[in-house]
Amino acid sequence: MLSVRSLLLCSLILSALLAGTAFADEAAINAADNAWVLISAALVLIMIPGVGLFYGGMVRKKNAISTIIFSFAVMGVISLQWILYGYTLAFGHDVSGLIGGLDFLGLAGVGMGVREGLTIPSLTFMIFQAMFAIITVSLITGSYVERIKFSSFLVFSLAWATLVYDPVAHWVWGGGWLQQMGALDFAGGIVVHITAGVSALAVAMVIGARKGFGTDPMEPHNIPTTVMGAALLWFGWFGFNAGSALAADGIAANAFVTTNTSAAAAATTWMFLSWRQRAPSALGIVTGAVAGLAAITPAAGFVTPLAAIPIGIVAAIAGYYAIIIIRGSGMVDDSLDVLACHGIGSTWGVLATGIFATIGATGLLSGNAHQVLVQLMAIAVTWGYSFAVTYGLAKVIDAVMGLRVRDEEESVGLDLSQHGEGAYM
């Protein structure tokens, strides 16, 4: 029974909804740049289920759906978080260098008109950035697969995006203090890969290892699925990095080339590393590609294509031995090596940006040693902040609602116990 009052209330809420988009002047929009950033946003979007497939193939069959659907669920939840308040926390007017103000709350004032300082609509910029927030959250899932409670995963993801991603994005890209200091991060080495990799470590430490870790085989159940996921990642990463030029210009072309080159160099290097040990591993090749992509991300628009070769090579070596060391230590079960691939890979990349930058910035090798210090500073702060906040957050969630499923649920597998489904029949 709808009363007149509730109808009135509804229409009030609704008219609030309608006010979201300002009809700004479209004169200054460059259609080519707009097309480029929109398609780049779509490319980043397809990386997100790509992460799901990449990860999903590497877990045991009984957790396939669970692992894949994390990324999809994150697409739902963080998309909403971002337009409601995440975007404004990251890109609202700077408040003391620390966080964005609430001016863009609920996308207020984020319309079809051009975004200040760019040639694309504010909405285009906003949605491109949304994809970065989503994928960062989805990257972390690799560390706690096969044992997390779905409800706790959701709460964690939402809180993490709010407490870690949004502030760090503000510091580096939203006019915050790291940006003011001159830290270089072309497409998210600091904002995306370091935060994700380090947080993955923290949450893995809190949640504990999978039952049977180190004794039972934790076999990747479907390697073709993982390769498919890696393919979507490589493909989408062109949008990620070259799209971060925010224009269809020469910088975009350069970032596109460095991205491909680093991925290629790292995939090849990792192939040889695994070969040296035994045989060229397919999992190794695709992992190398991902590590190379993570490493070139902060540097993509700042370095030359040839510089992308050592960046990729070192990323593969660092990632490879990081996995061996971390797994060998037996101290933490970062199940799908998020720290090693993204955290370590991109830490090197951020540093390398300070070394190799020549395009629109100068690094060590162009005589600007200072840049290396700035980069190191940004790395240290992001590592510290991400680790501390995530560790605390995971502890709190664990205390309040429990991070892990029950033992029997873990044995049976999360597909059945958390979703009431089975991947393959």
Binding site: P217, M218, W270, S281, L283, Y320, I323
Partner: protein, 112 residues
Amino acid sequence: MKKIEAIIRPEKLYILRDKLDLKGYSGMTVTEVKGRGRQKGISLQWRAGGYRVEFLPKIKLEMVIDDKDVEPIIDIICEYGQTGEAGDGKIFIYPVEDVIRVRTKERGGGAV
């Protein structure tokens, strides 16, 4: 009648089928199984380093046959199924009480 149940290496299936066929033994049922025994598992590669798998893919080959065919079939399987390395598998012989062909309800030896 007997049932011969042979656990063999997957890559030996087609040669065994050919050799058994040649001698007129064509009825059989195969199942993909995993096994462990003397062959102590293998190590497979992770992204870096490896992990151990103790259950290895094998094929279970089942044939229900007349008593007199037991030995010739054992001979064929041992001859063509072996590589000489641990993991070549085993043959188990079981008693069978009866056989019925679903299509015709024929029973016993004629149904095989």
